[in-house]
């Protein structure tokens, strides 16, 4: 079995080679027999109903949308009416959403079938999917490690379930959300194309908030073309989200195929320094050489404030999270502790039992950063750094069209190897976090395999609202390479 793309499935459905119901059953069967723990909930009944409706619609309509009847998986951070929505947390273990997130609704309106809800780090806080209340997710590439299996690898996080599911062929694509790298890092770890759109492209309504000023939904697919197709159905202005962009909708596939022979690639020295795994560095250099062959020019650039991104992020994101997660108080929905003495004790017991360690850690960091007497030193200061980091990109894009580097400093690591060391875990996102702080679009695409047989991701960053260009730059690379077509389920080289 090799990878199957949305574009291929779309063609097969259109040509009548397969029906949506057949396709949906096939994927549901694969999910059923998989052992990756990639899903928290599988919504078979609803999926088959949607698939049937899609098949009916296709038979009665000539101009159906490109992804009509295509099944995908949704990160369990999106509310879907009548469906359990946990956000990877015990506190929402039994929460059934009474409404549907705008992004999911947009996809359903395009005829996309939802197979189920994928596993994730609790409240999207994590880089390994190990903070999920619903257990670790197995990276499908674990078995492809050189010298045989050395135990399980993490799929990355927080969209680890989505990444593992696509990689393992349990779904042709999935949604993810990216606050500091939660789409791109797992995409890199699982050999996928992951796109974080510009902040405001996709509505956040119905997407459970981690850090409101950073969160953004995006596609996780095999190819850039698929990412463009899926993003077409996700994006758009939403009156229910005041931070969503009121810009005309566009076709993100429109630039696919445009020549990139006048492209200038900026390589920031800060992304190739200490801490970068040698193996990964070599793969990224090779990828850049491919682009040079395509006519792109290389320019050394600098993002001088990059080193401030992580400290800035680890003030802003927890600060917003500490407030966003206050609503999980046991009063109206979700978990309520069974025994408590009074109101304050009810809050304390509920939140102590309902939240995991990483979530508690970030709530405490955030509450501290916002507290009276510390606000100026932490939160206000972090916001200033955020502006400096954003300005770095503005200046850099005066010299280049796209910034490239590694998505992560190292490939997927072994389960449990970093879970007791938050700082080493946080360093996973050192290249991805500046992008969220600046609100820019970025992607991670497969860039080959380390000597240990693990995938590495090439990170591409482009100016605000230039997703079409970004996706074409990724697409041009995928036209001349086949890293993205490698599946952990095939013998490498046979793809």
């Amino acid at each position: 079995m090799t990878i199957t793309t949305l574009a291929e499935l779309s063609a097969n459905l259109r040509n009548g080679k397969v029906s949506s119901v057949e396709l949906t059953k096939e994927y549901l069967d694969r999910i059923e027999s998989s052992e990756h723990n990639a899903f928290i909930s599988v919504t078979s009944d609803q999926a088959l109903k949607s698939a049937l409706a899609a098949d009916k619609q296709r038979s009665s309509e000539d101009n159906s949308s490109a992804l009509l009847g295509v099944p995908i998986a949704q990160k369990d951070i999106f509310c879907i009416e009548g469906t359990r929505t946990t956000c990877g947390s015990k506190i929402l273990e039994n929460f059934v959403a009474p409404y549907t997130a705008t992004v999911v609704q947009n996809m359903h309106n395009s005829g996309i079938v939802t197979l189920g809800k994928t596993n994730m780090d609790e409240f999207a806080m994590g880089s390994s999917n190990e903070t999920s209340y619903f257990g670790d997710v197995k990276n499908p590439w674990s078995s492809r490690q050189a010298g045989g299996s050395k135990g399980n690898l993490v799929p990355g996080g927080s969209s680890g379930g989505s990444a593992a599911a696509v990689s393992a062929g349990l779904t042709p694509a999935a949604t993810g959300t990216d606050t500091g790298g939660s789409i791109r890092q797992p995409a890199a770890f699982c050999n996928l194309t992951g796109v974080k759109p510009s902040y405001g492209r996709c509505s956040r309504y119905g997407m459970i908030a981690f850090a409101s000023s950073l969160d953004q939904a995006g596609p996780m697919t095999h190819t850039a073309e698929d990412a463009a197709l899926l993003l077409n159905t996700m994006a758009g202005f939403d009156i229910k989200d005041s931070t969503s962009l009121d810009v005309p909708s566009e076709d993100f596939t429109r630039d696919l195929g445009a020549s990139i022979n006048d492209l200038t690639i900026g390589l920031p020295s800060e992304f190739f320094g200490d801490g970068l795994d040698n193996d990964v560095a070599v793969l990224i250099e090779n990828a850049i050489k491919e682009y040079e062959k395509l006519g792109a020019k290389i320019k050394e650039i600098s993002l001088p404030n990059s080193h401030l991104a992580l400290p800035s992020y680890y003030v802003i994101a927890p600060a917003e999270a500490s407030s966003n997660l206050s609503r999980f108080d046991g009063v109206r929905y979700g978990l309520r502790a069974e025994q408590y003495t009074d109101l304050v004790d009810m809050y304390t017991q509920t939140r102590t039992q309902g939240f995991g360690d990483e979530v508690k850690r970030r709530i405490m960091i955030g509450a501290y950063a916002l507290s009276s007497g510390y606000y100026d030193a932490y939160y206000a200061q972090a916001q200033k750094l955020r502006r400096l980091i954003s300005n770095d990109f503005t200046n850099a894009f005066k010299e280049c069209d796209v910034i490239m580097g590694p998505t992560t400093p190292s490939p997927a690591f072994a389960s449990g190897s970093r879970s007791d060391d938050p700082v080493s875990m946080y360093l996973n996102d050192i290249y991805t976090i500046p992008v969220n702080l600046a609100g820019l679009p970025a992607a991670s695409i497969p860039a080959g395999f380390t000597q240990n047989g693990l995938p590495a991701g090439l990170h591409l960053i482009t100016p605000y609202l230039s997703e079409s260009k970004l996706l074409n730059i990724a697409h041009q690379y995928q036209l001349v390479t086949d890293w993205h077509r490698q599946s952990p389920l095939t013998t490498r080289g046979n793809a």
């Binding site: 956040r204 309504y205 229910k240 609503r327 809050y347 509450a367 916002l370």
Partner: protein, 481 residues
Amino acid sequence: MFTWDKQWEVVIGLEVHTQLKTQSKIFSGSSIAYGAEPNTQASAVDIALPGVLPVMNLEAARLAVKFGLAIGANINKRNVFARKNYFYPDLPKGYQISQMELPIVGFGELEIDTENGVKTIGITRAHLEEDAGKSLHEDFQGQTGIDLNRAGTPLLEIVSEPDMRSPTEAVAYLRKLHSLVRYIEICDGNMQEGSFRCDANVSIRPRGQAEYGTRTELKNINSFRFVERAIEYEIERQIDILEDGGEIVQETRLYDADKHETRSMRSKEEAHDYRYFPDPDLPPMVLEDSFISEIKATLPELPSEKRARFEQKLGLSPADATVLTADRAVAEFFENTANTTKAENKVVANWMTGELFANLNKSELDITESPISSAQLATLLDRVCDKTLSGNTAKKVFSALWEQEGDVDDIIAAKGLKQITDTGEIESIVDEVISNCPDQVAQFKEGNEKVIGFLVGQVMQRSKGKANPQMANQMLQEKLK
């Protein structure tokens, strides 16, 4: 009256929460109508389901700007909403969306009347925020019910300077503010339903001392009377402490109207750290100049402007002008009546502040619920002008109007109250009286002119009050000369 007057100076500042008269909530589309079944006006946004987001209702901003313009305040064009974080069951998100820095309304002023004349009270700021829900303790044994219908109702919190120096001044300010928000139609002012709520910051200091004393904040004082009584109680309490050599603790105190006392709710040490920060879900709200100027154009004549006009242009006394402009509906009733009737403005004012207000008060009715319309009052006063009615018969007609027995002229006809102005008819009654009261006639002729009153009275009695008293008087004088 109070002992504090000599030694102690009282310093009072008020924080008033006014519910804005929008159709829907400040950050969601739910209705804000009062009195619905619990939780029937609470949407996904209002109950803070996971993933929901606030969307600013511009109508709330419009009403806030209207208030700012009415107090001559600076309107902040760039508005930032902040989260005020604290846990409480009736606060669904665990934070209240409010404004911290950059409130929509900056410094403004309001004039109040005091015994010593007009005094200007500063208004520090007014900011937009959302109301919380309500905790219901009564209906649930040992448990608390939560009604989130009110959660998200738009509030304008109006914060005064510590400019008031007595409970009377505080109440005068509060009344003035209450009148203003209803005038400009941003709030219905219903204190029972909680549309207009007041907290008071109270401190005392020895007369002549420049620094303020330690203040306490009084809550739960939601009527003009309670405001006055709670502040009075609090002043006495603070004086007792200081005169006993104690210290005032900065704290929030709750007023208990039944026991007429304030008691500690939480001290400064227990005060929340609200961890304010700009709400990342709401981009700054930037108001265009055109938005503000459009509101300015719709602003009605303000109470102070109206009062000046009533005095200067309409010739009313300061007292009448004050009473008749305190409420917009009252002022409209007055102007409608005065514009329709031939009677003088002063006469209209007398009838309104006298007869009409007395009846309204007795029946506990608002002017808008008056059984007598301004048109009816105008006609009634016209009938006095054209001498169809005397002062006395006019009052009878007024009573009949109050009982809704018909229109003015119908009532006059039905009750036969039309004044007799026919000379012949009056003359025959006058002749009867002269022949029936020989003693009084004799006294009058002997020079006791006061007795004429008795004789006129006899004429009125015999005419059942319908004779024109001036004509009767004149005719008696002539016949007895």
